[in-house]
Symmetry: C2
Subunit: 179 residues, 2 copies
DNA sequence: CGGAAGATTGAGCGTAGTCAAACCGAGTGG
DNA sequence: CCACTCGGTTTGACTACGCTCAATCTTCCG
């Protein structure tokens, strides 16, 4: 099955619980948060077999100092990461369960489409619990919301296999839009 | 009155609602998110009279490309912003109302103390609604939670004037879930 | 086969949201 | 000076959304 390599990045709490802070796909950069302190505040776990390309910070730094264009690229990537997290904050701060899951699926759909995969039919690489942690809700609520969308003929769901049958309806489920 | 200049940064939604994404104090840098797209995804509003020092992006870019140290400083600041937002995500994703407000007050206390102000008695420069937006709860809930803390002899609250009378108790309220 | 892990569904409950009323302080104008 | 408005805050009553606990089912695998 064709699939974009997937990682989850998460923040660990001292009692062992984790908060998933993002899911990344092929071509996306991880670990930018480590530049601040030298140590990474978050951890990344592959959700399936994946190829990774590690870039030591020292090398990156070296590269950037020699090349103004490269330095610009790094800035943009980090800045984009900040914007991405703003979206998640909006999601966690002011949306209900339906809107959260709709936003999650539409975002996933867009990113898959941009990479040449189907934007309407795909396989989730993460569990209900991980989705829930990411969206700030419990796994049972995630499951219920999937069923809810299925009842409304917005999706067809079979475990982790998802087919979006009414993209417009799903989009309407979260009509909020950042200016 | 001695006070650290305060800004709020927020994301606007098309229906007029806003999500506050942060409160900044003197010496903190704003607008890093603008580097990605050229346009800023968020807006900043002064909560009181303040002095600002604007740095055109072009200048910053110029400065960084000539000076490796400067470029490093910018990277670190942006990276720290990402870490800061991770904390907020944890807060929005996995804490209840009491824990959220406790975390907010303790954070504020620490930052004020670090700047030479009292860490136990201070004046809030933002409304209940703004605090609520930041913490992902309604203004009534913010107000109720303040009253709740007062009943527990953790705080003394008079409108926007706050005195922390039991710092340990407040810390415990915050770390209860996080351990 | 039996056990483990993930997903679904139901029942009941509790936290925080909604709606509404009252209060308070500051500013304005008759 | 007092009446009035206006924005912000507090509090109450009720509601509802999502959490908790629990049972069932499927899939996978030793």
């Amino acid at each position: 099955m064709p699939c974009a390599a997937a990682f989850k990045t998460s923040l660990m709490l001292s009692d062992g619980r984790e908060q998933v802070s993002g899911f990344s796909m092929a071509g996306e950069l991880l670990g930018l948060d480590g530049l601040a302190s030298g140590a990474h505040a978050s951890g990344a776990v592959a959700l399936e077999d994946a190829e990774v390309c590690a870039i030591p910070y020292a090398d990156l730094n070296q590269l950037a100092s020699q090349n103004a264009g490269m330095q610009h690229v790094v800035s943009r990537l980090m800045s984009r990461e900040i914007v991405r997290e703003h979206t998640l904050m909006l999601l966690l701060g002011s949306m209900n369960a339906d809107e959260r899951l709709a936003a999650f699926l539409l975002n996933l759909s867009q990113r898959l489409k941009a990479r040449g995969y189907s934007g309407t039919e795909f396989h989730l690489r993460m569990s209900r619990a991980e989705i829930g942690s990411y969206l700030g809700m419990k796994l049972e609520t995630v499951s219920r919301t999937f069923s809810h969308f299925q009842d409304q003929r917005l999706l067809e769901v079979d475990k982790r296999h998802i087919r979006i049958v009414d993209m417009d309806g799903l989009t309407r489920a979260f009509e909020w839009r950042v200016h």
